[in-house]
Structure formats: C-alpha cells, structure tokens
C-alpha cells in the first residue's frame, strides 16, 4: 500500500467524527448565529425577520440579562476560587492518611452524581420546615432560614451546592498532581531546611502552577454552563437572583418566552466567551506533546 492510499484510509477513518461535529455542532452554531439576528419567536407567526443587532442591543438594556450574567460571574469569582482552595487543602489533608485511596474514591461521588439528582438532594436539605440544614443551625440558636426565599440566601445556597459538587474535582487533580511532583526537588528543598509553609510556597506551589491554571480554566469553562442545579432548586428565584446565563437563555428562548432570536443572541455571547477560554486551555494543555502529535505532518 502506498503513502497516498494510506492517507486516504486515514482520512476515511476520521471522517465520521468530522461529519458528526459539523452536523451536530458547527451547523447548529451557524444557525444560531443567524437566528440571533432575527426576531424569531416560535409562539408568533410571521416572525423570523432580520432585525440586525437588535437582540444584542437588548441584552445591554435588559436588567434580567444583566443580573443573570452577573450571578454567573459571581459563581466564577466566589465558587471557583473557593473550590480551588478547598480542593488543594483537601489534597494536602488526605495525602498520607491511612485509607486515603478509599477517601479519594468516596470524594469522587459528588461530581459523578448527575447534577439533577444532586440538586434534588440539596432541595430537601435546604427545606425551610423539614430540612436537616435548618435543623443543624437550630443547635447554634439560628432561626430557620428561608433558603430559597431571599436573594442573598438563595445565592449562597447555590454557591454552596456548586462548591460541594466541584471541590472534589479540584481535589482529584491536585491529589494526583502532588503525587507526581518530582521527589528529588522536594527532597533537595528539605535538605535546604524548607518545610511546612516554606516548602509549599517556594517549591511545591510553583511546581503545581501549570496544573492549577488548567484546573482553574476547566472550572471556569464549566461554571459558565451552570443550569441543572438552578432548575432543580431555586428555578432562578427569588425574582431572578439566582438565574444564570444558561438558565436565562433557556427561559427566554425555549421555556415560556419562545423568543428564539433573543435566546440565541444570549447563547452566542456565552459561546464566544467559552470558545476563547477553551482556546486558552488548549494552548495550556499542550495536546501535541500529550498525544505525541508534535511532529505531525499536517
């Protein structure tokens, strides 16, 4: 078989995947970019006319869009750093304890359980009258809290769920990263008298930096999609205090608004932000080296 035939076969083998992605993502995305410039509304006939950047301008004037994007940013700024710190802390805490492997496996569960199920579980825990959380708080003399009734409580509740769900993810990565640290460098540091905080700050942390960036980006990319737990617990409420970017696009686009044009515009911006982050991530991940493609011909 000559080289040309080989190339042909190679192409034939990747073609199904390429076709799948073209039809199921690139085409819908292109279609969505188109609808984002129209006033398409599935509940009204005669819509779908081109209206230019009208939908995009509306985003800036719509207080609900602003608050939904605002809450999503809040998740990025509060939940993600907390997860990073707790995850890193847990990895140091558990490393070296007997039974650490079992603990690691058990910590896997919150992030594996479908978010809809996790959200449902938390909805029971947060229940005003019968929930265990208010019961525990009563030990400290705290009056029952209407978790989903007030904006700041509802927002805290969602932050807590996200932190619960994704701290294990950071932990897993950091736990493995710690084990992969080059022993000789750590030992050399110890010989030089570094230990505890000094060892962490000056030797381990710099070594962990690349993987911390990757983790941070993975988390930010993911937190921008937050939807399931909102739907299952607060449904964006009270008012729109806990509505996220995805949730608001869902609400105006397909839930009761049917305003596909506006929902599309919201999703297009979210998509652009995500693509920028994903591109940064791909550079950090160094796929070429990871998959042995660096000396690729293509």
């Amino acid at each position: 078989m000559n080289r040309k035939d080989q190339r042909k076969i190679a192409l034939m083998l990747v073609l199904p995947a390429i076709i799948l992605f073209l039809i199921m993502t690139i085409y819908p995305f292109a279609y969505m970019i188109y609808t984002s410039f129209t006033n398409l509304d599935l509940s009204k006939t005669g819509t779908g006319k081109f209206i230019g950047v009208g939908n995009y301008i509306e985003i800036f004037q719509d207080p609900l869009a602003r608050s939904s994007i605002g809450f999503t940013v809040m998740l990025v700024l509060i939940a993600v750093p907390t997860e990073m710190l707790l995850g890193l802390g847990l990895s140091y805490l558990i490393r070296g304890l007997s039974g650490e492997k079992i603990m690691r496996s058990l910590l896997l569960i919150p992030m594996m359980v479908p978010a809809a199920v996790g959200g449902f579980g938390w909805k029971m825990l947060y229940n005003f009258m019968f929930g265990p959380i208010n019961y525990f708080l009563s030990f400290f003399g705290i009056q029952p809290i209407t978790w989903f009734g007030k904006a700041n409580y509802a927002q805290s509740a969602i932050l807590i769920i996200d932190i619960w769900q994704w701290t294990p993810f950071v932990f897993l990565i950091m736990y493995a990263a710690l084990q992969a640290l080059p022993r000789d460098i750590i030992d050399a540091g110890k010989v030089d008298g570094a230990n505890g905080w000094k060892l962490f700050l000056h030797i381990e942390l710099p070594l962990l930096k690349p993987i911390l960036y990757v983790t941070l980006l993975l988390r930010v990319i993911d937190v921008l999609k937050t939807f399931d737990i909102i739907y299952m617990t607060t449904y964006g409420g009270p008012g729109s205090a806990t509505s996220t970017w995805s949730f608001y696009a869902y609400k105006v686009g397909v839930s009761y608004g049917w305003n596909i044009g506006y929902g599309s515009a919201l999703s297009v911006i979210l998509l652009i932000v995500s693509i920028l982050l994903v591109n940064t991530l791909m550079k950090l991940l160094n796929i070429g080296k990871e998959l042995g493609l660096s000396k690729a011909e293509g």
Binding site: M1, I9, A10, L11, L13, V14, A17, L20, F21, M24, T25, P28, Y31, T35, L42, L90, L97, M103, S105, L106, L107, L108, I109, M112, V113, P114, A115, A116, V117, F120, G121, L125, M129, Y135, W164, A176, A177, I211, L218, I221, L224, Y231, M232, G253, I260, S264, S267, L270, S274, I275, N279, I287, G288, E290, L291, G292, L293, A296, E297, G298
Partner: protein, 282 residues
Amino acid sequence: MKKKITYVIRYIVAVSSLIIFLFPIYWIFITAFKPEPEWFSMPPIFWPSKFTLSNFLGTGSSTFGTTTTSIAGILPFLRNSIVIATITSLVSTFIAAFAAYSISRTKIGGTKLAGWFISMRLLPPIASAIPLYVIFSKIKLLNTWLALILPYLVPATALSIWLLISFFNEIPQEIEEAAYIDGASRVKSFIYVVLPLSAPGLAAAAILAFIQSWGEFLLALILTNNASAQTLPVYLGRYITGWRVAWGPLSAAGLVTMLPVIIFALIFQRYLIRGLTLGAVK
C-alpha cells in the same frame, strides 16, 4: 507525640469533610427507604425506623396523588435512559475508535484536528440546545430517542477520541506490522490485533460516554417533552416544582438515577479521572 496528635487531628478533619460531602447523597439514599410519616418530620429522621420498599413500589402514600407516589411511572423514563445512553455509548465509541486510531497512527490533522475534536466537549450545551430545538421541530425529530442520541454523541465522541488516542499510542506499532507482514490486511490487523489489545480503553470510553449521556439534563429537558423520550433526570425535574413534593418516591427515583453512575464511576475511576481532567491527571 506532636506528630501523632496532628495525625489524629488531620484524620478527624478529613473524615468530617468526607461526611459533609457525602451527606446529600446519604440523605437521598435513606429518604428513598423512609415510610411516609418520616419524609417530612421535625426533627428530621436520620435513620428510618424501618426500611421500606414502598417508595419504589408506589404503595407508600395515602395523601399524595398517584403520579408522584409511585415510581412505577418511572419505567418509561428508565427505558429511555437505558436506550439512549447505550446507543450513544456504542456509536460514539465506534466513531471515536476509528478517528483515534487514524490520528494515533498517521497523526492526520496534527494538533489542530485533535484539539478541535477535544474542544467539542467543553462548549456550553445551551448553545446547541436552542438551535437544535428549532431545527428538530422543523424536521419533526423532537421528542424522539434520536433527538437526544445525536447531540449526546458530540461530547461522548470528543472525550473518547481523547482517551483512545493515548490508548492506541501505547500499543506498539510493531505488533500490527508483524500481522500486516504475515498477510493480514490493514483492516484485519486492526480488527484482530489492535481492537483486542485496546479493549480496556474501549470499555472505559464506552462507560464514560454512558455516564455522560445518562446524567445529561439540559438537552433532554428542551428536546423532549413526554414519557416517550424523556430521560430519568428530567423525570426528577418534572416533579420537583411543587412546593411540597413526595420526597420518598422522588428519592427512590433519584437513587435509581444515580446508582448506575456511582457504581460505574467507582469501578472505572482511573480512566474516568484521566478523561474528565483532559489528561491533566494520568
């Protein structure tokens, strides 16, 4: 002595954290087996007085209507979930195996193509859900199994390609060439030599695809609207909106939804971690 004390303290903190992280799961688990009077009680019941199966059988409640008190209604959703996740898992593994093999052996497309494939699983689902809703409603595909299988193939295939490229990389090319020289065709050497050797990788990819599709919520919520194609997570979502939902049966449904995932995840955790962290962890 001081070392011992810090060790004990660390242990206590670790176990307490573990309890906190597992508590919501524990709560679903025990509520699924609680008799009706214990669903809503103050103080809450932390260990059911007796473990009952009535929440699963739909015989547990006198005060709630029949729709939410029996998970008998869950069966069509369970069927949909199994069918959709299984087909997605098989088809995506198939497509991914071919693509990954080709990339691994010929480096076709280089870093660009591989990166493009992998990035497909990171994009926000709402961005495909809205246009797919419009497109599928035009071609009358809404509310069918296919309406979910098609979009689920995307992240599943993307993740599997990533996993499988590194798997195929680990299979020495010489083994294949030996078979090739012995007269086997390229296709035959792939089927008889490479596939059996990469079986663990293929299994891991299939399981991961299954787990992802099984738990997916947003697309299922938007692209399906009744028991003929809706999946388990959406079943849970449908009945949670009332202010007082029947916790027992819903927990039973939640347990059925999460149990396969937890079991698979614990068995395949090594590959799972590798896949979910995009190779950041080996």
